[in-house]
Symmetry: none
DNA sequence: GTGGTCTAGACCACC
DNA sequence: GTGGTCTAGACCACA
């Protein structure tokens, strides 16, 4: 995990958790590490991890049991999948295609 | 010119100039607008435009003639092209491929 | 800190930091003052200090930890040394030699 | 003559004329080109050349015969020599020595 | 006219 | 608290 990129740390943490959900590493009702544990593990301020968990909670990916910890919501994988697909197809892919055209690259050459 | 709020204005100005170079609108030795002109035209502070020009100068896309203005470097188009291709192929495309895999999308479906 | 009026302040700040790195005062991973602290200390606008830090970052002398501050890069001393030696040997020294010739001075007389 | 350096053009012109005086190319009472001729030759605005001539006149290196042109002063070479030697010995050389020390270079290695 | 630099002050995201 | 960005306005050297 690289934190010197131009993306904010808390968003990178969100991404990494979403990726693990998508990959099936984290399943419904799995508990994720506490903000303190996770922060210590990756060398990040617990406040920052907390902010990530807050965002994921807002997005309905994880939920909090008070005093116990954070857990993956039921159907989280499907939700992440749907959300990211929509984002990808409607926003990212068109931009990528436009850029590849400008650069004179075709998708065929790349795969 | 419309500004996307999640990217800094000065970088968007750089991008727009690079795009115009790529598209062939700006050719070697063409003069670009003064920081004041351009700033007034797009409703941005001249200092912000100056910051863009400074970056483009560092990148070897434009150069300054003292007291006269900024001009497109010889070979700017090739350089922008090479730079952006490298960036795309080495950084962006791998990330895109990874993401598409995670999302269960294949390039074939998209074109 | 005293500023020489025929060189811009932000470059003099860069120089002073490089000098401190060369002298071993600032070592790898040392944190340098925040732009506000340093600005207040030397009586300069924080923006000006920020500009210096930005340049040093581009030069790979320091790096930024988001929300924390600026730190000396590993190997910064060696890099500054190599860079300045190269500049001196390839650009400055030949000019000095030429000038001494024109002035009829020889290095032997001077040391 | 390269004008993209960080030194102002009019000062570079002064330097080049002083160098030619030092080298003996320009002798007492030689006429130098008109601002227009010289400007056209080196691709510089005549105003800029005029500014150089003005400075050299102030410095007593050249003088103006109204309607005729600019000429090298008697004893110009000696004067330039004395002036530059003083500047070099008192200001530049000490700075150079200091820098070489910092960079771990000795004059002996360089000649 | 051109750009280069600096200041002051503001707002923001982030840690 | 940190830096990042932007604005407004100023002064300067230079062409």
């Amino acid at each position: 995990m690289e934190f010197n990129s131009n993306k904010s740390i808390y968003l990178q943490i969100c991404d990494s958790i979403c990726d693990r959900v998508l990959a099936g590493e984290l399943k419904d009702q799995d508990r994720i590490q506490s903000v303190r544990e996770f922060g210590a593990e990756i060398g990040v301020n617990p406040n920052t991890v907390a902010r990530s968990y807050e965002k994921l909670t807002d997005d309905g990916i994880i939920y909090n049991k008070r005093g116990i910890g954070y857990f993956i919501c039921d159907g989280a994988r499907e939700q992440v999948l749907a959300e990211q697909r929509k984002e990808f197809l409607e926003v990212e892919w068109p931009a990528i295609k436009r850029k590849m055209e400008l650069l004179g690259l075709s998708p065929d050459q790349l795969d």
